[in-house]
């Protein structure tokens, strides 16, 4: 679970690190990804595991479009820039939730009879649910791919460079908007991947994003804004804390542990664990 949190959070961290914007509609991106997975499964009988790359691609396009239609303008705001970003993405989140209710109805849906759903594997006597295990492996794979992508490809370098100094980058002839749009796409694609996996073992409903969004923000902040690999570490910590709290406290209190750890960390290190700025 922690690795999936990490994956969701990585998308958020990527976007934030790139241009200092927190996407408050991130949970709704996840919700959309889960719905896309569901419909691919329900209408075309594509298993969520096969659908994952398709969902990621769809979300990539979606993220880029959101950037071009909304965020690009939010970043131009001369007054109250932080406020405009927070509330324009918040507004977007509300619209997306409303649209989901309108088109998909508020019913709970779930993907049944997928390849790995509901099965367990036993490793050295410990029973692990298969979907979660595969989710964890895919998350690790995605992180490794992301690492190489950012550090080894031209586009990754362009991302980093734009982050460092957008003005200078423009002088070298890189279109800032294109890089940002691609960054948003990439961030959304990561959520898409996470959504596709989570659709296997979570109910899908219009408000599903809200419950994960806050955990994602906490995860990112825990790792330190702007650090994609901080988000990875944050995800693992959050997953572990959640599991531990679930052992000692009643289930209704399980999120309290995560929040308490966040507060503890930022009170000691106000920039998160690996934050640089």
């Amino acid at each position: 679970m922690g690795l999936l949190y990490g994956l969701i959070a990585a998308g958020l961290a990527l976007i934030f690190g790139l241009m200092d914007v927190v996407n408050f509609a991130h949970g709704e991106f996840l919700m959309i990804a889960m719905y896309v997975t569901f419909f691919l499964f329900a209408f075309f009988a594509i298993d969520p595991l096969l659908a994952a790359p398709l969902v990621a691609a769809a979300l990539f396009v979606f993220g880029a479009v959101v950037y071009l239609l909304i965020v690009r303008f939010a970043m131009r705001a001369k007054a109250n820039a932080g406020m405009v970003q927070i509330f324009s993405t918040f507004g977007l989140a509300i619209v997306m939730r409303g649209l989901a209710q309108f088109f998909f109805t508020p019913d709970y849906r779930s993907v049944t009879n997928s390849w790995v759903g509901g099965k367990t594997v036993s490793i050295a006597g410990i029973y692990l649910p298969e979907p979660q295990l595969i989710g964890a492996m895919l998350s690790i794979a995605a992180f490794v791919a992301l690492y190489f992508f950012i550090n080894r490809t031209d586009f990754g370098r362009a991302l980093e460079a734009t982050r460092e100094d957008a003005g200078a980058v423009a002088l070298v002839g890189i279109d800032k908007n294109r890089v940002f749009a691609l960054g948003w796409g990439l961030g959304a694609a990561l959520v898409g991947l996470a959504g596709a996996i989570m659709a296997i073992f979570f109910y899908i409903y219009p408000d599903v994003g809200a419950s994960f969004a806050l955990i994602a923000y906490v995860t990112v902040a825990l790792g330190g804004f702007g650090s994609v690999f901080g988000a990875f570490a944050g995800g693992i910590i959050v997953g572990l804390v959640e599991a531990t709290t679930a052992l000692i406290l009643p289930p209704s209190l399980k999120s309290v542990g995560i929040y308490a750890v966040y507060l503890l960390v930022v009170f000691i290190r106000p920039r998160g664990l690996f934050g640089s700025m």
């Binding site: 934030f16 927190v22 909304i70 303008f73 939010a74 705001a77 001369k78 007054a79 109250n80 820039a81 932080g82 406020m83 405009v84 927070i86 509330f87 324009s88 918040f90 507004g91 977007l92 989140a93 509300i94 619209v95 997306m96 939730r97 409303g98 649209l99 989901a100 209710q101 309108f102 109805t105 508020p106 219009p206 806050l214 923000y217 906490v218 902040a221 804004f225 009643p250 209704s252 209190l253 999120s255 309290v256 929040y259 308490a260 966040y262 507060l263 930022v266 009170f267 106000p270 920039r271 998160g272």
Partner: protein, 325 residues
């Protein structure tokens, strides 16, 4: 320059007085309970948003956890009344005082955080409080508290038959919140806060004790919001954790100020007057289908206004004035 500012302030006061008188007369002509209900909510949100604006607008510490203080006010009043028979008026003050103290206790560690770390901390703290109350059996846990109706009286601040007393109290609350803001705007606190908002490091170097001024803003803001919460508990006479302390409440409190103009005297009022009736009307006319059309309208409005008018709706008025000059 100084006199111009003084003139503006006097004019603001007169305009506000006129608005208050007009608002007070409206119920004489509007007898419809549904409309009166909307007016009460509008005034309440104007008051809440004005209080939120003190900390988040003037002082620049964006809090998305103010539902905590709202819930504290509501719960203090309701618990004192149902468990100990303490009159809501005292409960209101107690709730305000508790909230102010808690705001400062939380501010102590939180105000060292900046930007998004601060915003997320406020959300997280309110969420923790919400979960704790949901699991607190003595306080009704997730089911909440039903405030028993013991007859209409100002003493008990309960009115089953008429909305009017609530209306006048909400109006008074909005006026008080407005006056407090008006007064603070020209006090040394007001100048400190704006300095802290614009550039905390420069303010500190010029002798503003940044930490203390944030604490002051938090206490005033939390106190007023808690009084609003007490009022709400009496108004709806039933509270449960999600409905008074949920995250959406923090958001609802912030929105009028953001849309109207954050960090301005008139922004919260203007925002509430436009936003709340619109929300209520869309909810009752097209929201009944349960298909989220009201959410679509509402969300689109937020996106469009925040993108088109980053300074809020108030800027439309001041821009016009400058053009006329």
């Amino acid at each position: 320059m100084d006199t111009q500012f003084a003139q503006r302030r006097r004019r603001d006061l007169i305009v506000a007085g006129c608005f208050a008188v007009i608002a007070a007369l409206v119920p004489l002509f509007v007898k419809d309970v549904y409309v009166q209900n909307i007016m009460v909510l509008t005034l309440m949100y104007a008051a809440l948003s004005q209080s939120w604006n003190i900390l988040s607008g003037y002082c620049g510490q964006i809090s998305l956890g103010h539902a905590l203080y709202f819930g504290l006010g509501a719960y203090t009043t309701a618990l004192l009344f149902t468990k100990f028979g303490v009159l809501p008026w005292f409960g209101m003050l107690a709730g305000g005082a508790i909230s102010a103290v808690i705001a400062m206790a939380l501010g102590y560690p939180c105000f060292r955080l900046r930007g998004h770390y601060f915003v997320i901390a406020t959300i997280v703290i309110a969420e923790i409080a919400l979960v704790l109350i949901q699991n607190w059996d003595w306080a009704g846990a997730a089911l909440g508290i039903d405030i028993p109706v013991r007859g209409d009286s100002w003493l008990k601040f309960q009115f089953a038959r008429s909305k009017l007393p609530y209306f006048y109290f909400a109006l008074a609350l909005a006026c008080v919140a407005w006056l407090v803001t008006w007064w603070l705007e020209d006090s040394k606190w007001g100048y400190w806060w704006r300095a802290v908002k614009d550039n905390p490091d420069a303010a500190e170097s010029l002798g503003v004790v940044v930490f203390n001024s944030k604490m002051g803003a938090a206490a005033v803001s939390a106190f007023l919001v808690a009084v609003g919460g007490s009022f709400y508990a009496q108004f709806v006479s039933y509270i449960d954790p999600e409905s008074v302390m949920g995250f959406q409440f923090s958001l609802l409190m912030a929105l009028p100020a953001v849309l109207g103009g954050i960090g301005t005297l008139w922004g919260p009022v203007l925002g509430a007057v436009i936003l709340i009736p619109l929300t209520e009307l869309t909810r009752s006319f097209i929201g009944g289908s349960g298909r989220g059309v009201d959410l679509i309208v509402y969300g689109t409005l937020i996106v469009v206004i925040s993108l088109a008018l980053p300074r809020g709706l108030v800027s439309v008025f001041s821009w016009r004035k400058e053009a006329a000059r």
